[in-house]
Point group: C2
Chain length 221, copies 2
């Protein structure tokens, strides 16, 4: 079974993206070499300039790929939140529930083994945004953060664009992100090589705990 003019074995473009997730994640953009990338993908080194115009073009394609996949997973919840915030008859409990739901989705995303590959790319971009960061920031990160800040503003009855709401939103989202950024340290402390299902569930429940307890007992400050 081989279609006439589509894929002979598998699209080299796709394989380069896959290799990029691994290699850029491990070595960073500067540390990655086109030879590593081509080797991992099982294609020729000259294929990178050919298909993506160069190393940087491949990198941008990789980040866009990450944005699309992460977005497909968590943006549905985000959109539900945006809609709920516009109805104006959203109870505090419901808002807290939505926040927990958004964070749970995020933790699930971060918890799955695959995220090890692309997570490092995103954390690096968070530390030092390049042109590639705009791609994922506009498509995913900003939307999720605005939704969370919106919910927090609603719960604490403060403006969603206030510094307080923004910083609290980062604090909440950060709790989940940290298990991505400090993954190796945490695993070292736990004496494991990989998170178990129970670990993920425990992280989820701790974050839920912190959301519920913190937001319930805080005045808007």
């Amino acid at each position: 079974m081989k279609s006439p003019s589509s894929k002979t074995k598998e699209d080299p473009r796709r394989r380069l993206i896959d290799a990029g997730l691994e290699i850029f994640g491990t070595h960073g953009f500067e540390g990655a070499t086109t030879r590593m990338l081509a080797g991992k993908a099982g294609v020729n080194q000259a294929a990178i300039p050919y298909y993506y115009g160069g190393k940087e073009g491949l990198y941008h394609a990789v980040v866009a790929y990450i944005a699309e996949n992460a977005g497909r997973f968590i943006l549905p919840v985000t959109e539900k939140i945006t809609a709920a915030l516009q109805t104006d008859d959203l109870s505090t409990d419901a808002a807290v529930g939505l926040l927990v739901k958004q964070l749970s989705a995020f933790i699930q995303l971060v918890g799955q083994g695959e995220s090890r590959r692309w997570g490092r790319i995103i954390i690096r971009e968070q530390m030092q945004p390049t042109k590639a960061f705009d791609i994922i920031y506009d498509r995913v990160i900003r939307r999720v953060h605005e939704a969370c800040a919106g919910l927090i503003g609603h719960i604490l009855q403060i403006p969603p664009a206030s510094d307080t709401a923004i910083i609290r939103a980062h604090s909440v989202v950060g709790q989940a992100m940290i298990f991505q950024a400090a993954r190796e340290t945490i695993l070292r402390r736990l004496g494991r090589r990989e998170f178990t299902f129970d670990d993920i569930e425990m992280i989820r429940s701790i974050v839920e705990d912190q959301i519920r307890n913190t937001l319930r007992h805080s005045s808007g400050k």
Copy 2:
């Protein structure tokens, strides 16, 4: 005033460390070049192999320098905690207070402008530990985490080496670390180029809030 045989203008070793903080922080170990490092330090490129045996030797020296400075700042509180945990007549309120104090020290450390330079180095090492990570892990990170897990174990009346205590400790410390890791994103959301004093104080108070509310209302789970 110039001592007979010590420093002519300023120790080139010191200047290389200083350049290393900046350059390794910006480009990572692989992305940094000896020419960048030497240029920033205002010394000759050959000075790096001469003084530190090579690029990697300089990198290790930089990480050791970070460990020492960060340790000088936060380990005093850590040691106070370790001592308090051994007395066995530590009240829950006092334990919570110590945890807040440890985190406040950490946030202050992370909040100061200088941390922008070395913070990225440490985050990178957390994501992908190299030999250099052992230096700062053993001297600082492990101690702080063990102290925090100890306090949390005490407060929640669970073993300090349990997965729950360890993960909760990471969750708490992570809340502060995220303002380092996601610094650029948060500043982008806030529309600033640098954290203000008020920002740092707000972060500190939010973390304190979360510690007090979460640990007070949680059963050990």
